[in-house]
Symmetry: C2
């Protein structure tokens, strides 16, 4: 399916899903393409066009049943069937992704975690034991994870990705600052690049006001009572 | 500056910066628009056009001096001057962002963190004390943070964003699953939406191989020796 649909459409699907899911949880049972368009900042014709890529989900003039739409989107997004994933690099980001529950929300079941740090190898995180990164290739060859989460240091990113691609991993969720070279492979790479996102934000905001302040923040903070109120 | 330049150009700047910085650290002192284009998947004319938005950084036919280019990009991205930020919601994601060092890399100095959990209020993370979220408005009115990192639960996202916008916070880095409504305000919102990113990846990969496996993964794992090798 995904091969025939443009990546721009695919990129909009999670937003539809998220919004329709929130309608369902509010008990709203019907939504029109106009309402969807307005809530998500698309045009109504774009919504109809997007949905027509998957055979259309509604009846002309009737709008969509939210539960049917949600289930159909979940199906297209492969959330129910799910897929198997591994994590390479068990730093604080990987652990916070676990805590956050993003994997289960997206239908990814983490089968194994890998790290090179002997301190971390053998630890149990969630219900998964951290394995030695030296076993990554053997594991992937045998258990065919579909997705790998790359949370290792940038210096190890490309060499790890090379192993993953060689083993037939189909998708790499890349949290490193490195742009993974994946030309010629069938592996899809989705970059998170958090620093790029924050830099973009900082670049979009006007010049700072703090230049006008004469006293350093630390001194001003010390003068004011923003005391911890922990023990109330 | 940012107002005149399209958001598509701004979104490419961190990628230029990241790549040029890696050239500098390899001791490479010159790069052409062709080389930049090839490395980053743009066209050479796009590179030249992007740079011309900022007055151009090189001499025709000569390429760019990498250190000058890096410093100029850092200046445009406001990395040196930096800005003041606050974090709302001190869960594991906020803590991993701290550990990761993304704020200092992007020139954002975190002035305060906020949470509603009495267990967290008063704790020191990095060199910042977690304050009661009830003080957020007062703090922002007084200390004018430019950027706020929204890592609170989705249910509190819009109401927190409303406070931040009312207090003149110029940029919101949104990690919640909610699409913040910021129309009519001067506040820029940059959404991370990690689940959308992972769903997009899963949607782009072909159907799973594991359907062919007859034995559940847990049983197959138990049969194989992927023993923790922690104490070697």
């Amino acid at each position: 399916m995904a091969a025939k649909v443009s990546s721009a459409v695919i990129r909009r699907l999670p937003r539809y899903y998220r919004y329709v899911q929130s309608l369902c949880s509010q008990g709203i049972s019907r939504v029109s393409s106009n309402e969807l368009a307005q809530a998500l900042g698309f045009t109504a014709s774009q919504v109809r066009q997007d949905f027509s890529c998957f055979g259309g989900f509604g009846q002309q003039g009737y709008g969509y049943n939210t539960e049917t739409l949600r289930d159909r989107l979940a199906e297209i997004l492969n959330l129910q069937a799910g897929c198997r994933g591994v994590i390479v690099g068990m730093g604080s980001m990987a652990q916070s992704l676990f805590t956050d529950g993003v994997f289960s929300r997206c239908g990814v079941s983490i089968a194994a975690c890998f790290d090179t740090d002997p301190e971390k190898i053998g630890r149990v995180i969630g219900d998964v034991t951290v394995l030695d990164a030296a076993m990554l290739e053997q594991f992937c060859m045998e258990f065919h994870p579909a997705v790998a989460v790359l949370t290792c240091p940038g210096s190890a990113a490309q060499s790890t990705a090379d192993i993953l691609m060689r083993c037939g991993v189909r998708g790499i969720w890349n949290f490193t600052s490195v742009d993974i070279q994946a030309e010629g492979s069938r592996t899809a790479v989705e970059n998170v690049h958090l620093a790029d996102s924050l830099m973009t934000l900082c670049c979009r905001i006007p010049a700072q006001q703090e230049a006008r302040e004469s006293m350093p923040l630390s001194e001003r903070l010390a003068m004011r009572v923003f005391a911890p109120l922990g023990n109330r």
